[in-house]
């Protein structure tokens, strides 16, 4: 059985993956216009500035959208059906992720439910995934 895909970092993305290895979700923001962004790249996508910096995001997010996939990718055969989700970080940017600690069913996966980041080892890479965080709902109110 083929293994799950393992991301191959590039120089521009290495700080992100190093952050994950340290158990932190590090993303970038523009020093000039202040906007955080994801995925890692050298210029601010909002204003074009190269005056950008890395920071550690809160790891809090909400569920923006998802599918429950019944035709597994290589290595995911034992997981199917599984959710492929896009989450919105508390800081604003969105990212694709997996959801763990929750059933991959429409009943269990409610859009906008609060989530928090956790990390899963995949080869040499620590991969950010998300799990329900009921306490966020109260903290946000």
């Amino acid at each position: 059985m083929a293994a799950k895909a393992v991301p191959v970092p590039t120089p521009e993305t290495r700080p992100y993956w190093d952050g994950c290895a340290a158990g932190e979700l590090r993303i970038q923001r523009c020093v000039d216009c202040g906007k955080p962004y994801f995925y890692p790249r050298p210029l601010c996508p909002s204003c074009g500035s190269d005056n950008v910096e890395w920071f550690t995001a809160s790891g809090r997010a909400t569920l923006y959208s998802y599918v429950i996939n019944h035709r597994p990718a290589p290595g995911f055969e034992a997981d199917a059906p599984y959710a492929i989700a896009v989450v919105q970080l508390a800081e604003g940017p969105r990212m694709m992720t997996s959801l763990i600690g929750v059933a991959p069913t429409p009943e269990a996966l409610e859009l906008d439910m609060p989530l928090r980041v956790t990390f899963e080892q995949r080869g040499d890479i620590s991969l950010p995934v998300f799990t329900p965080a009921a306490e966020n709902a109260e903290a946000d109110q």
Binding site: A5, V6, P7, P9, T13, H70, I84, V86
Partner: protein, 381 residues
Amino acid sequence: MSNAGVIIAGAAETDEIGRLPGHSTLGLHVQAARNAVADAGLTMKDIDGIATVSAPGPVQVAHALGIYPDWIDGTGVGGTSFLLHVRHAAAAIRAGYARTVLITHGESGRSRVGAPPYRLDLSSPAGQFEAPYGTLGPTTTFTIPALRYMKDYGLTHEQLAYVPVAQRQWAAKNPRAMFRDIITVDDVLASRIVAYPFHLLECCLVTDGGGALVVTSADRAVDFPKPPVHVLGTGEASETPMISQMIDFTESRAFRQAGEKAFAEAGITVSDVGHLMIYDAFAHVPIYGLEALGFVAKGEGGAFIADGNTEPGGALPLNTNGGGLSYTHTGMYGMFAIQEGVRQIRGEAAAQVDGPDISVILGNGGMFATAGVLVLGKRPR
């Protein structure tokens, strides 16, 4: 700048579409090219410009046809690429870079004969930030925005399921369509789930086939056996290489941007449009397309289709060949959407609508990655 002086003089598909294990990808290009050039009453010697996507690419296709072009376009931005080729060809013809451009598509999407293996580079952004989460092609990515749209705008599962129901009614009139049996919403919802909320019948086909176009200047219209189809307006746009980075999951910026350009250039509004093609890789895409082009208000696309407006007898005939959901979908369906627009303007479609003066074609590339729009007309502006 105007597009008024450019026409589609030749248009044809491969002899057959569907399951064609006896033809390679290149072979399908060649057959489609032969048919389109013949449709224009020309020979390969008349062609001085070539456009197609990579694999096998314009150099290979031109060489296989014995063409040594003065103008080459290898734009490959997914299934809408051929709409962009028409736009680029129109500009090249106006600029005098080419006089007669051949645009080809061939794809052994189902049989995979002479087709490149699919392999995602795991150091690319999509390879690093999407593939590790178990994506596997369009069914796992193009589909992700739909639940957000459903929650925010109240689109129901039944309304989504009605999209293939409406299009099957067109396919039933088309002997070349792969699926022609009438279906119901219950049939759609009873088909197996591919990626919730999408059932099998809400996902496009995977087929083999091809098509080609001959684009030239309108002042030569009298030279051709078929009535000219005027390229009145064109648009193109890109948004995102990864579905996770789509700006707003409830609307396509690229669809809207390309549509605005094309409609403005043609000087038309939605009320001028008698026939519409919207690339339908999945059931939600025509809904996004109707809204992006301004045919309905945001959030109303699903009800508009479910109320019967786009099916035979409706006010806005949409995807009249049966679409990617029922007619054919080689992988890069845009060429087939253009072909149906041409047939409808010429009056030679299998499910011919009542004499449309204007046909609009909206093409999608990738997963809401790119868009192309063509406004085709029976007459010059």
